[in-house]
Symmetry: none
């Protein structure tokens, strides 16, 4: 019989979070500010979320970080270059960088929640890479003993590090990363 949860209030809060992230950075987001911006009472926020980080988490999982598809052609190196360039470019626009930095800020504060979020967000990317490398392996394009997950980690670590430093990668740097990973050092 009770009134059901207001979806509109929920969306207002998530939108307010995204807006606040874009304009001020995660650290200066406040619950009071979100409530005011969203036209919602503090109580409503506390009723449905346990912390600022939880709101961020929901906002991230919903309006999610961009992840272009990894193409499958005959040229693995070209595929990776195309995909990683696209990803770096997409991640380079202001709003996405701030989302990523906010994710990092939360993770640096609460490793547990952060690891869970990172997993949810990174898993689809890892799967794509692992699948693509599996294809390549079956074609004999890569070593049979390649640690595909380790490669995926490298890509993600580089992207995170670039976002963290607020120094998003341009195409040249993205290509350099792919180059190093494709050919190795020696």
């Amino acid at each position: 019989m009770p009134r059901p949860r207001s979806e509109q209030a929920r969306q207002s809060v998530l939108a307010a979070m995204r807006a606040a992230l874009a304009s001020d950075g995660y650290a200066s987001v406040t619950i009071e500010g979100l409530a005011a911006e969203a036209g919602v009472s503090k109580q409503t926020i506390y009723r449905w979320w346990s912390s600022k980080a939880a709101i961020l988490g929901e906002a991230l999982l919903e309006g999610s970080l961009p992840s272009p598809d990894l193409p499958v052609t005959d040229d693995l190196a070209a595929d990776l270059r195309a995909w990683f360039s696209a990803m770096s470019t997409q991640a380079g626009d202001g709003a996405s960088v701030e989302l990523a930095r906010a994710l990092i800020a939360v993770t640096a504060t609460d490793a547990e929640l952060g690891a869970a979020l990172n997993k949810r967000l990174a898993d689809p990317i890892v799967e794509q890479i692992v699948a693509r490398l599996e294809v390549a392996r079956s074609r004999g394009d890569v070593r049979a003993d390649l640690d595909a997950a380790a490669v995926a980690d490298q890509f993600i670590a580089m992207s995170s590090y670039a976002a963290l430093l607020g120094r998003p990668m341009d195409a040249a740097r993205a290509d350099a990363v792919v180059e190093v990973l494709m050919r190795g050092i020696g």
Copy 2:
């Protein structure tokens, strides 16, 4: 002519910061708490540091993060494995992880200060790697067109990412990273 700055107060504050990081994490470090723990007045802190982040920066630059030497033998892969394992191990103890996470937290909040700090801390490591790869290049152990700085970035990005997730690398994972970088994908 006035009384000179108290070096003892300065050291107390930095020590208090390191202790607080180890026990509570950067986010719950408080200027008031530092002052109390250090036996110093808030005013003294505000006189010499502009923010919590600035104190962290000084603490990091001083009692710096550990960085083992990169050995130079005939076997580049073995050298990198030895060095990166040692670094991962050292970085794995509680205090160091918290220092690194704090650095990341600051950087996620203040990209400018964070970038400066990261540069100051990462530069010596990058130099070591670049120099070692130069030696390798002159011996013909690596490709002539290798982007040594990109390789160094890979190592640092992986270390940071591991620290961020609170999932420090063990020897096996460290070796996997070196393996991928040494041999490349194909």
Copy 3:
């Protein structure tokens, strides 16, 4: 629609102010001290009062300074003596002296607020005197051209001055004042 102002908090603060005045004097009353003593947060005080002086004002207007009634018999001099003695005695106990001294301290600091408070507190007394002297005039006990308000001012000025010096008047001095005012100099 929000929760209404807590009358209990308000009373606690006023009581804490009165207690602090009695034990320490207005100058060493502290908002923090009041808050602690009243079991109230600082924010609650700042929400409802604009300054320490405003709290004092409310405390004064509420638990007001004592003012005995001016009797009306056939003997004006005896009435004034009785009334002024009573007033001086009442005003002489520790708590009342401190209230009066606090009022003076506020007034010396903020003439505007002080004047308003003095008016609110003095007006009833002035009215009593003016009314009593009007009765006396109609009986022919006083000069027709007497400036009753000036007389009232004299009484109040003397009381204030005595409180200010922390030298409350005893019956003899109170009588001397009445004597001078009744008979004049010549």
Copy 4:
């Protein structure tokens, strides 16, 4: 061998106190402000004065509050009117009012020091009045049993009260006071 106390520093401090009183009121006078304004170190102030109040005291006793002479003619009422009007007028200019209000503020805070200061400042005035009334008594102009000190107190109390309220007396009000005191109520 020791350097003697600098009279110049002393005068600078007293001048700074008078200037600060005139422009801001006693409550917002600050030792640090005085030191800066006087071009003197805090230590020098603390070496020679025990408190802000002590500086005010010295400033008052030195550049003293105005006190016109009480004339001695055949007409006592006229003499008192002339004198009290002059005193009210002199006391009415901005700087003097602020000096008086500062004196009251100190007294309201520290009754002991305040009483001492009031005595030093009021005594000459009281003496003048007592002497004048003595002359009047010997001429038969006033009652033989007049309490001259009580009369003097009335004048001083009225002046203080007027200064306290920041409502300096004009000639008419001053005359009204004299009128009441001269002729009494009846």
